[in-house]
Structure formats: structure tokens, C-alpha cells
Symmetry: C2
């Protein structure tokens, strides 16, 4: 059986106010071509189908037409779970009708326990689960973390499971040892988020979503597909595509890259080199430029857009430098001396008399409050 | 064949900030009981399923569970069209999957032309259509009104139709000769809205939604079911329920009332009679009170709510009177005299000197502009 494993489509996402829907439509179209060329027999979508709980109607239409082409036009089964970005209830609308056509959508804990079986392989679809939701569902106060929640769900699956059959898990979570980027929204506040790999021991393939890097985890059986495309500047050097999974005598998975409509880059350079394109950049791609020698340029973003219409962000190299760490000596010095030293190291200038007065006043206020 | 014809569910509607969802769930539940008791074989929903283009998730859940009970639990076909309150695209999500289970949902012009056939009867599902939408779809500039739009759609249906078979139309529109209440939102601004009855000549039954009164139109073949419940104070004396349609040797339809969770009334009385409930009103029902002798009462709404927790609106009888027409003589009088006369008739007081000055100034400004 040949399976396409995708995740983190984030349909409807914007990056720096730029709507990525046309880019997403482009990649989804490429995936349809891959399905045909590779003779894919089943498609797995491991959560974060939409970017928001209440997607726009354009986003809904794009997802619907993608699934239509796979499931109705080509008659292929689709197995999907909701992610932390999805609104489980809205995403789940219609699922009782969809499954009549082998489009299985798991959006609630109770959807996890009954496997969907193809070619004698059991597929368990576990949606993204909030610990509070699991605590309520199982009526167990000691369920406090994501780990507790998924462990409990998989325990129940294992109790009922026919161990002689091969089994696949589809879910959306942060696995222990995974590598994060900037664009995965934290699963919840305060709690330990990751789920230990041991939870999924004994399963033949674990198809995950949430982390956007397709190689976010090293494991024999647990895999992220990575996101549909680059969704933040911290992902510019990550490959994007899908996992091609073979479940035959043995189970194996390979990552297949899929070309984006426009690539995305972070370019650190000086303004002149970029505006004259001495770097020979593709002018249509998405860019975050971090440029030096730009203080004297009036409205540099407008000028850059004339050359690179899809530049998404412009930052001053000097600002980036100031965000970096600066070491100051703090022993045996007064507050004012420490601040003066810090400012000097950062800007190569000294505090004015007026600035010193303000700092003195604030410093006094803080000291009065703490004593 | 025994059919239930309903329309104008307006799921998620609020009346004077009061969410009617629990009332709607109550009536939908009653309808399920009717379906079982009457051995209904098919359900028609003639538009305005939701009250808004973007319904709340609670509204979506209520509609989904209603259709689930009819279509999946009982296996009955459901034939529905979108109304002017529905967001056609969002409502139509999943319709290609639903029809595999005999849940037919028509939300676009192109859904109108292919009939759904049961027991050798052809059902044509025509959604609510904006003239601009029809003009674009048919590429005909002379389509300007609702009448033009529906006439065009039905012409195409008639051209292809097997005239030997019986045919039913399901749609959502304002038929010529229908009686409006306060709660149907105008279909569009400025255009003539109604559709001539002749458009539907030759059809055996025309199941309509839009007008909330089940007897809004007198016809042998064209029927409104009326709305699910009373949705404005102008509907308090209307019966609410569904139409039971028989399509056998002959076609007939009877209106069947369905009891609401709480009835709705407009009560014109004096404050004392109501607060002491000398009228023996049911205290749980919904009320609009129009009361006299209330000027001396502090916070009358709070007091009334202690007796009638579901009062929705309180109006002063004196304010109502002032909204009524006042006759003034306008021949041979100055503007100021006409205004003075009007104020006297309405309030039994005269204009102050200051008020007269303001009116003189405004009157002068208006005259200067017009001359």
C-alpha cells in the first residue's frame, strides 16, 4: 500500500499580512499530480488543516476542492485528524456523512478508539487533544499534561487492539526530542507539552503533524511530514513536501520534496547589493531582508518592492545587532555605571545629561518601591 | 409519498438580544417526533436554515444533529435549498458527500437543473438567487429582477423536463401576492422583489420559504410552510409548524401546527394589571408589553422580569401613541404654524420661545438652500 502523509497545511495562513492562499493552492495542486504519478492509494492528513478555528470561506473552499479531487474524483480514502490550529467542531461538521465515502475525519477523543482498516492495516486517528479535554472526558483528575492525555488514549487502543495486525497512528502533537521552529503555536500554556516516544511503542508507523520540519525527529517508526510550505522565516532552510509511506512486507517512508510557487529566503546584506541585485536573487520569491547601510535611504521598502514585489519584511541590520547579547560588567558598579556601559557598548554613544536624569528618577522610584 | 415541508428555521436567531437556540432545539425535536408519528418519507427544507451567513458553532451543531437524526439515523432523504439569510458557500460545504446519502443541498444556480427523483416524482431544488448572480451566470444583461432570474431558471427546467412526470419545485423567494411580516429581511435593495405565480405553472407542488406566515399565499399548488417559530412581535398571531404534503394519486398539503417551548405575545395593558397578573398570563412565555400608567414606576423592566422572566421588550403606551399619525391642517398656514399645531396635537404643550427660535433658524437654512 502506497500512502501520502501530509500535515500542517495551515490553509488560509498569512505571513506579514500577505495571504498565502494562492501559494497553498499551487502546492495542493502539485500534490494531486504526485498522487497520480506515484499511484498513491490512501492520503493521511495529520492535523492543522486550517490556520484558524474559523477559517475564511475561501480557505474552506480550497480545502473542500482538494479533498473532492482526492476522495470523490479519484475515489481514494482520506484519513485526517484535527490539529491545535483547527476548530475541532467546525472542522468536524459533516464527518458522519464523509465516512460513508471513506473520508475519515477525527476531531474528538471518542473518534480515536475505533480503527479504520485498509489492506488489513488498522489506522487509529487521534486528534489534537487538550489536557483539560482529556481530564473531562476520562473523568481522571491526574491527567495534567499532553503526555498523560495521549498515554491514556493509546492505553485504551492497546487494550482492545488485535496485536497480530499491523497498526498505524495518525496524530498531531509535539513528540519528545522534536525540534521546534517559530511557527508552531504552543500547544498550551505552562504545561509540559511533549509526549514521550515510548507511548507509541509497538505501532508500525506513526504519522505526525505539528512540527514543521520533516526531519524534526529521529526514529524508526515515528515521522513528521513537515508543513505544506515555509510558514516562517525560521523555516527558510527546511525542505517542504510530503512523506511517501510504503506498507507492504516491510514499512518504510521517504520524504519527497515539493516545489513551492515562490521560494522564501532570509537575506543579510547591504542595501546597495540588494537594490542592484548584485546577488542575482530571483526577484519573484518571498524575502526577509536584513540590510545594513540603509539609514540614509528614504522609504527603502517601496524601493525594494519595485525590484522584489514579494518582499515580506525589511529589517535594519543595526537593529538585529542590538537584539544580540551585550556583555557588561556588573560587579562593584552603581546602577548608573552599568547602564552607561551597556548603552556605550550597544550604540557607541554616551547618555545625555537629560537621559541620565530620567534614569536616576526611574531608578529611585524602583528602589523606593522595593525597599 | 408523505413529505414534511419546513422552511425558515433561522437557527441561531436572537430576538431583542435573547438567543432562541434552546427554543429552536425544542421545536426541531418535536419535528422529529412528528416524522416518526406521521411516518414521513422525505423532508423538504425551503431555505433560511441559519439566521446568518456565518452561523455560530452551536447553531451549526444544532442543524447537523437535526439532519443526522433524519438522514443518518432514520435514513430519510432530505432536500434543502439555501435562503437569503444563509451563506450559500459555507452552507454548501460537503454537499457532494451528503448527496451520496440522499441529503441534497442546493446552494448555487447550477444545482437547480438536475432533478432529484423519488417515487417517479422529480424534485427541482432552486436556491435563493440574487439578480446580479443570475445576470453573471447566464451572461444576460436584461436579467434585472428576482422575477427575471427565477423565470430564466424555470424556463431551462421546463425545456429539459419530462412533462409526463410529476414535478415539485423547492425554493426560497417572495411570491406575488404574498403577505410580509417584520422579520423577513428584504431580498435586495431597490428592485421589485416578487416573482409572478405564473412562473411555476405546471408544477404539482411548489414548496417555498421566505415568508413566515404559512398562509401567506392563496394558491392550489404554491405553499409556504411558514417559519419554525415566531420570530418577531408581528408574528404573534401566526400559527407555526410544518406542511404535511401527500403526493399520491392527487397532491395535497395540510398545515400542522407545532407547539413552541414558550409562546410569544404582545400585551397592551396598564402596568398594574400586568404586574399583578390580573390578566392571568402564563408567566414563562415571551412578551412584548405595551403599558400605560408606568411613568412613576422606577425600573419597570426589572420589576416585570421578576414576574415574567422571559419578557423581551417593554414599551410605553404613550410612545406608541406618538408614533401614530397626527392630522394637521397645512393649507394657508406658515411653516411655524404647522409645526406648532403638530406639537400641540401630539404633546398637549406649546413650543417654548427657544424652540421656536431654533425652528426659525433651521427653516431659514432649508429655504435658503432650496431657493
Amino acid at each position: 500500500m502506497k500512502i501520502m502523509h501530509i500535515a500542517d497545511l495551515h490553509i488560509g495562513r498569512t505571513l506579514n499580512q500577505h495571504l498565502l492562499l494562492a501559494d497553498q493552492a499551487y502546492v495542493l495542486n502539485k500534490l494531486i499530480t504526485e498522487i497520480d504519478n506515484e499511484a498513491i492509494e490512501l492520503v493521511i492528513i495529520a492535523g492543522d488543516i486550517y490556520d484558524r478555528a474559523l477559517p475564511s470561506k475561501e480557505a474552506v473552499r480550497l480545502f473542500e476542492s482538494f479533498i473532492y479531487r482526492i476522495n470523490i474524483e479519484r475515489g481514494l480514502p482520506v484519513l485526517a485528524v484535527s490539529g491545535n490550529h483547527d476548530g475541532a467542531m467546525r472542522l468536524g461538521y459533516g464527518k458522519d456523512w464523509f465516512k460513508g465515502h471513506q473520508f475519515y475525519l477525527s476531531t474528538a477523543i471518542e473518534d480515536s478508539f475505533t480503527p479504520v482498516t485498509f489492506d488489513d492495516v488498522d489506522f487509529y486517528l487521534i486528534p489534537y487533544i487538550e489536557p483539560a479535554e482529556a481530564r473531562l472526558y476520562f473523568e481522571e483528575d491526574n491527567i495534567q499534561t499532553h503526555y498523560d492525555s495521549y498515554r491514556k488514549v493509546v492505553e485504551i487502543i492497546n487494550d482492545k487492539r488485535d496485536q497480530s495486525k499491523r497498526a498505524v497512528i495518525i496524530s498531531h502533537l509535539f513528540i519528545q526530542g522534536g525540534a521546534e521552529t517559530d511557527s508552531e503555536r504552543p500547544l498550551s500554556m505552562g504545561a509540559v507539552e511533549y509526549v514521550h516516544q515510548t507511548v507509541f511503542k509497538g505501532f508500525d508507523y506513526v504519522a505526525l503533524g505539528h512540527l514543521h520540519h520533516p526531519f524534526a525527529i529521529q526514529s524508526e517508526t515515528i515521522f513528521y511530514s513537515g508543513s505544506l510550505m515555509k510558514y516562517s522565516f525560521s523555516e527558510v532552510s527546511q525542505p517542504k513536501g510530503y512523506r511517501l509511506v510504503y506498507i507492504d512486507e516491510e514499512v518504510k517512508s521517504v520524504f519527497v520534496p515539493v516545489e513551492a510557487r515562490r521560494d522564501m529566503h532570509v537575506i543579510e546584506s547591504d542595501y546597495e547589493s540588494v537594490i542592484n541585485n548584485s546577488l542575482a536573487l530571483s526577484t519573484e520569491d518571498y524575502y526577509q531582508f536584513i540590510l545594513s547601510d540603509m539609514r540614509h535611504i528614504k522609504d527603502p521598502m517601496t524601493r525594494l518592492k519595485q525590484v522584489y514585489p514579494n518582499v515580506l519584511e525589511l529589517r535594519y541590520a543595526e537593529d538585529i545587532r542590538s537584539e544580540r547579547e551585550v556583555e557588561v560588567e556588573v560587579d562593584q558598579r552603581t546602577d548608573m555605571e552599568i547602564i552607561q556601559q551597556f548603552v556605550r557598548k550597544l550604540t557607541d554613544t554616551s547618555l545625555s545629561h537629560n537621559q541620565q536624569q530620567i534614569i536616576e528618577r526611574l531608578s529611585k522610584e524602583v528602589n523606593d518601591e522595593t525597599h
